[in-house]
């Protein structure tokens, strides 16, 4: 069993990161949304309401786990796990620094998208098993939009892969170190603006976040597919949603913002604090997601589907053609 034992600590670390990230993000979400709405957010428990989330977690853990009558028993129990496990697996390929990562995969980028594509299945499972109309409608909406937006999400990152010539997340980061002409960081966000815009829109949709949160539109569907879940089963579903925010934001950092590196700062200086730089960048991304969430109204489901199929996918395909031609012309010998 020698090969199994060394794999245990990184997995435990990922679970720990996921839990800590959930606790931090709930507090952050409440505070950020609160201030965006000219409210204060939590203030009572602890200084500036800092312990509020901890209290909530304890509450979730100690609450009664209610199983409604008429649910599809096995699937009802299994669904939160099916939602949670892919979210946990998505951490496997994320490079926090040159050395700190769970595993180095040649197909890291594709792997992360593949495991994230399993999340809608857990959502459908939860919605179906709940035997509740709102839950099922919410689940089908969530799955429909996630399946629809997976296509532009994958297409939007293809130009990056074409230029780097690798699906390995670490190599994508390595390509972005340094500066052009002494001043411009070699970040893909500056080189491939359309890709980044496409990625951001599709990512918001993948995450079921406002303005694309049709799956749990509170005013229409109670809490969508999670309506019938209580206690820590509900906790698992929510933890997975916050964790997906982290993973998608981390992917954006890797693909477009140079991962753990900083421009103008030599690698030797960053090396000891690289994971911190990475996590800080990721949290800036999450803050922007929350900013959008607190600012924009929800779109309608038909508008969402039109945007995805009729606009984003054709634009993404056209952009891939353009980048492909430019890459070929710029470097006849190979990839720049």
């Amino acid at each position: 069993m020698s090969a199994v034992l060394p794999a245990i600590p990184p997995v435990l670390a990922a679970i720990g990161l996921m839990l800590a990230n959930g606790v931090v993000l709930i507090y952050m979400l409440r505070k950020v949304l609160g201030h965006l709405h000219l409210r204060l957010g939590p203030t009572h428990v602890g200084p500036k309401g800092l312990v509020q989330t901890t209290a909530d977690v304890l509450k979730l853990l100690s609450k009664e786990d209610v199983t409604p009558n008429g649910v599809d028993r096995w699937m009802y129990v299994l669904a939160p796990v099916v939602v949670f496990v892919p979210s946990l697996m998505a951490y496997a390929a994320l490079p926090f620094s040159e050395t700190l990562r769970i595993t180095r995969l040649e197909t890291g980028l594709l792997y992360t998208f593949a495991v994230l594509s399993l999340v809608p299945l857990g959502v459908i499972m939860a919605g179906w098993a709940s035997a509740n109309k709102y839950a099922l409608i919410g689940a089908l909406r969530a799955a429909a939009q996630q399946v629809a937006y997976e296509v532009p999400l994958l297409l939007s990152v293809l130009p990056v892969v074409m230029i780097v010539g690798s699906l390995d997340l670490a190599e994508i980061v390595a390509f972005q170190t340094g500066v052009w002409a002494g001043v411009v960081p070699r970040w893909f966000v500056l080189l491939l603006v359309p890709s980044f815009v496409l990625f951001m829109i599709s990512a918001l949709c993948e995450l079921n976040q406002t303005p694309f949160d049709m799956s749990e539109a509170e005013s229409e569907l109670v809490a969508g597919f999670a309506t019938e879940y209580s206690s820590m089963r509900f906790g698992l579903i929510f933890l997975s949603e916050f964790s997906n925010s982290f993973v998608i934001s981390a992917l954006a950092v890797v693909l477009f913002f140079g991962g753990w590196t900083l421009p103008f700062v030599p690698d030797a200086v960053i090396a000891p604090v690289a994971p911190l730089v990475f996590v800080a960048k990721t949290y800036v991304g999450i803050f922007i997601f929350m900013w959008i969430r607190g600012t924009l109204p929800r779109v309608r489901i038909d508008q969402l589907m039109n945007l995805g199929w009729k606009w984003l996918i054709p634009i993404a395909l056209a952009w891939i053609m353009i980048v492909g031609v430019v890459v070929k012309l710029a470097a006849p010998g190979g990839v720049a």
């Binding site: 069993m1 199994v4 699937m75 594709l110 495991v115 399993l118 299945l121 179906w128 399946v147 997976e150």
Partner: protein, 166 residues
């Protein structure tokens, strides 16, 4: 990775896929059946990974588990009128039995032909770049034909669903 771990993992995955397939065939609830199918697909993806076919495993998860099962569930849930309709009676069809028997025989004969021949595995599994290069040079024609077939199916599906509207 040591042999024992591989063996244990293989047995777990192999049994998972077989049990999933049996579960899919024996359950009377079509929603359960599609989740069993999903389990089979994920387990087979794991088997690919054991063979160092990383890209194939990832694509198996992305396309079959992530997209095909979701579409399958969608079709089931959009066509079910009532929740109770998901439970179907067991239908025994002679044609299906004959087809299964023929298929089983063909597969058995094919495997028997190969006998104990063990495929030689390279020391280092080829990576994604090598695979892509082969696909677009040596196997370019079959690759393009497969793409064309998929495109035709796509256009056909759109045309078919339009016809219903009129």
């Amino acid at each position: 990775m040591s042999e024992t771990v591989n063996g244990v993992t293989f047995i777990i995955l192999a049994f998972a896929s077989i049990i999933g397939a049996i579960g899919m065939l024996t359950t009377r609830n079509i929603v359960h059946a599609s989740f069993w199918l999903l389990e089979v697909m994920v387990a087979v993806g794991g088997l690919y990974l054991l063979l160092s076919a990383e890209f194939l495993a990832v694509v198996q998860i992305l396309v079959y588990a992530g997209a095909v099962s979701v579409l399958l569930l969608f079709v089931i849930m959009l066509t079910l009128r009532r929740r109770e309709d998901s439970v179907r009676p067991v239908e025994i069809s002679i044609g299906g039995g004959v087809l299964a028997a023929v298929f089983g025989t063909v597969i058995y004969v094919a495997i028997a032909q190969y006998g104990d021949r063990v495929a030689e595995m390279p020391d280092v599994a080829p990576g994604v770049a090598e695979l892509g290069e082969l696909l677009f040079t040596r196997w370019a024609l079959p690759f393009e034909v497969a793409s064309l077939v998929l495109l035709v199916a796509l256009v056909g599906a759109v045309w078919w669903s339009k016809e219903e509207d009129r």
